[in-house]
Symmetry: D2
Subunit: 362 residues, 4 copies
């Protein structure tokens, strides 16, 4: 009756597919409108074999048509190209969840990492960063949710509790192992099965991947919030002194999944233990329905198809490093699942609506 019409732009990409899957079962969404340039006018099943025969009659439409028909818009479109469309949607009174990178960073930080001025700096003030675990208090009522990057999600969830306890010392190394779907559906020759199976490689090494900026910003905010005595209650625009993170992603032969291993040299004089680190994670994420902290080191398969994050920790006493591990499905908690989670909190729906708890094993 009062169900929403949700529009998905970029519905022929992997982010879009995850949104279709979740929103088509969402109790508050009555209607889906899908946008795609590549598949304009085509039926859903032509683009996505897994939906063959489902949602009959659904065809991909033009951007303007999707914006017009929808109450809320999910943008799973490329960064840079997205900001103007978001501006258009907001001007038309629509609410927006943006999975692109366009509203994740303050305009000056954006300019530094993306090599160009922010296209709509005036809208950044209205954006709320959609890492729900840390920004839950700021999201209700948000007109524009900036959903975090996949690597940034895993890295930030791992680093924030350490940052809040002042444990980021002289070296913060974030190593991410990522499945190849993070590169999107049409990424070219070097992503073919024959080139990637039995292959692992680092890319965009330390200091060159843009998700570094998101991790640093989140860690800085977590530290500032804790210093203020606010616990996890971050304020998006509060000043912070970010830690310098050396982040290097690694492509490994799997379709889905992200494992972030954060190796943090503790500050002079600090020391810790595995039990203490685990306790610290458990406290920090207590009450967060999408986060599990466990004693065993996590594995990516445990969250395949799921919208949860699983964390663990270990203290390397010999070298005085705290290790924090976080796994997510890059297309779940790292993309569509997190976007729907942000949508739920922004709209006042139960945080779990439309999301999946247990993934697929094996």
């Amino acid at each position: 009756m009062s169900a929403l019409t949700a529009g998905i732009l970029g519905a022929s990409g992997y982010g879009g597919a995850g949104l279709i899957q979740r929103l088509s079962h969402h109790p508050e969404v009555g209607q889906l409108v899908l946008g795609s340039r590549q598949y304009l006018g085509k039926e859903l099943g032509v683009c996505w074999p897994q939906f063959q025969g489902l949602l009959p009659g659904t065809r991909f439409e033009e951007t303007a048509s999707v914006i017009e028909k929808s109450d809320v818009l999910f943008f799973a479109t490329p960064h840079g190209a997205t900001a103007p469309l978001v501006a258009q949607a907001l001007a038309a009174g629509k609410r927006v969840v943006d999975l692109s990178a366009d509203f994740r960073l303050a305009p000056d930080t954006y300019a530094r990492w993306y090599g160009a001025p922010h296209p709509h700096p005036e809208l950044y003030e209205r954006a709320r960063y959609g890492l729900v675990e840390l920004h839950r208090n700021e999201l209700p009522g948000a007109q524009l949710v900036a959903s975090p990057g996949c690597n940034a999600t895993a890295g930030s969830l791992a680093l924030a509790p350490l940052a809040a306890h002042g444990l980021l010392g002289a070296s913060v190394v974030v190593t991410v192992l990522t499945g190849v779907s993070g590169a999107g559906r049409t990424p070219g020759e070097s992503f073919t099965y024959a080139e990637l199976n039995e292959n692992a490689k680092a890319y965009k090494p330390g200091g060159t991947h843009r998700h570094t900026a998101e991790m640093e910003a989140t860690a800085g905010r977590a530290a500032a919030a804790a210093a203020r005595g606010d616990g996890k209650r971050l304020r998006t625009h509060s000043p912070f002194e970010p830690a310098r993170v050396s982040f290097t992603p690694h492509l490994v032969p799997m379709s889905r999944g992200i494992l972030a291993t954060c190796s943090v040299k503790l500050p002079e004089g600090a020391s810790s233990s595995t039990a203490e680190l685990l306790g610290l994670l458990r406290d920090y994420y207590s009450g967060d329905p999408l986060v599990v902290v466990q004693d065993d080191l996590p594995q990516t398969k445990a969250v395949a198809g799921s919208d949860r994050a699983v964390l663990s920790a270990h203290y390397d006493e010999r070298s005085d490093h705290a290790l924090v591990f976080c796994v997510i499905d890059n297309l779940g908690k790292g993309a569509a699942g997190q976007a729907v989670q942000g949508f739920n909190v922004a709209f006042g729906f139960p945080e779990w609506s439309g999301l999946t708890q247990s993934g697929m094993w094996p």
Copy 2:
């Protein structure tokens, strides 16, 4: 209020995991009781990482306890060992869905293929074969549902329409490509990643795999039903003259999925066309919510994590062979999904309850 308590025996195997996933969300199931010898007394998350932190407090129990507490029992236990437990459950007035092979074949056929007398031939009369698409009329009220084998499901769905139209000629070759989870969770050295990745092989070649008997029985019944003018309304125990099927499964490097390619030499004088074959499949499965017939050749990934079957067909004019293709997720429509589908129809619930339509892509 009147929700059922469902028991799962063999809950630490892959079939069990799929049942937990589906039944924990099933609207008519209020309580789950899990049985496992290997994990007796352990918490769910110890056995299944994907359920870590979910269904808190759930521990694996002894068989007797599971039977006693449950209204309906799902057996995902090895063949041979299962029949006595089924007998025990039925004697205690419980209803049963059996995923093992113990009640799929008539006792004499069973004896021929399993090399031993059927352990409970008297119960076979009470069993209903759980291939819902063909046996939908016989299942309501069933006390004992014998859920089909994974290969048999794919092969039978492909062959039945041809059989019903008298198109099984001098040669019926069923080639199955199967993911390795079909061998279960603890299958030994030759199933390690290092031995199986970049490897494909046939096993149990023509005439030696027991699922052959299920395919032949179903094809024979489909032919007999059509000859009686009953359409798909099969009668489980009706006499039939089975076609001889040469079935060879092939292990390929993937965790999930079955692709059955059936190459059928048409009888003398018959001929066909791709369009005719597709029409014949569409007619036969018209109204079946879990079956999709499409023009394009199907791929296993389209049903990964789904409970649907996708079929297509092609006519090889040069050699006069009809080719029918069927893909399923061996752990979905081939195991847990089909068991829940049979449960739904046996209990009068909507056929779709607890099942998943679209799988996970990529």
Copy 3:
């Protein structure tokens, strides 16, 4: 001293890489010249990471330059585009090993399967089909060796012994499982890792794949040669009555490897046994150094990186089908290895020169 200069056209494709690997170690080859349009002027290591730092100074050159400098030319270039280059090379007095499809089929058969007249029918008479096991007597001195297709190699090696014994009856079904490198190095979106991992599908079903014609021709020749009492001593251009083969390839998630499963309905009145079939294969390939016949069903990993073929057989008594299995590495015996084998026999070198026996396990 008298070492040959070998030229490789299409050296930036997978066939080319295999040729570089083998010919750079070949005792009779003193110099390699590489051609590639895509990598023209680039260093070898830019194109092929596995050769980084090896063969220093080697750069990709233009076609004309490669032809001019070489004594023998290997064409790993697309069909259709290759024939004119072969004509040019032959006119310049060079000898040729052609891995494309351009000289494998008689011009009328070619026209039927490729939908266009053969570009150089006058050269077909000079071509010798490079399936060494069957054509060993015709190859010495050949100016133009037409190296067989990968699927055709596996299917033909399996069918030839049955054909020679008159065992191809009413139905000849060849099912091939193939790794994705067969599609080449730049095959587009649907070959990405994310789309192909955990995926299996048939393509070009019965009667539509061009390698069907090669299998039929070889089986026909094998039957004709046997009828003449010539054993394996085929004559390329002898008349034959080909069996009709229903061949369907299946793409499975692996980079390399082909498994051909041939299911042959025996002629009326014939019958057989597994032992008889194995004996028949062993006799047929006795003395062939690149073919192994074994009791166990073969697996593709056993020939990964190798230039050998492994065969086995099974008799399905119930349905009266002979099953013959053959595995090869599609890039070894199915491409570069077979081309070098044909080159060796054409030039009078030991058949094994430059080839690898044992592959890589795991």
Copy 4:
């Protein structure tokens, strides 16, 4: 004529298979004798499908028989169990290459990491550490070569040049991504294809994996040698002050390959650049035939089946970390290839004998 007889103990494991492959083609090895408890008396092809039909007549023998018949023994047997057999072989006047961990560490370090006293401390003095690139001068004539661990090889090759230049600062984090064959051929349930495909996880986190000790020892020696002005000319038993390395291995879904990513916080006041780091690597490994230094980040597939190591480097200016990357095939340069390399140098053969340069792509 004067060819050696080489014995391989543990010939039914992956290390053994690699040794068979290399030594059966080695110009100085005339005869192979294979030992295996599991396959005692069986033919080679029963254990290793890739050798089916090759080395005819070769059967696995008892340990004593292998030791007696051989001039040189390669031990690919478990640590702890190996040392007594090595003692036995040395006592019989044989020379030994040991791929186990038993003679890699000084007895006191061994005791600390393996939780037990060294079984034969008196033999350690006779052992030479087989990382040829650093210990080339010590190996000629060695009676006992202790071949390094696979992770240790990759990590040590990456760290040594930095250590020699005094660049190991407050934090030395070594992250390794490893294929699953490192766990051996029979590693149990959690290594099945279904559990590992689409899965990545860390194990034995910082400070708990024994290869840490090898990396620290090598880095310490490299620093000490440089301090003495000896360049790479290490002396095995020289005193050193090892850096503390935080090493965490990660299991990724591939059969072969190791990628070590070393993130090193530079000492106070030091700074660097990518060009400087690359230059430093090139200088250090100048003249080493098995090491390639390249500008591009390396990928594991480039060394699959090869005995080479490929390194690269990157300077993260923002966070002042030097990153060094190293890929090897864990079964090539990480095991059998390195063992044969050490054998070659110990016996005065060309370093390359029996080894492979280019691996298999794809």
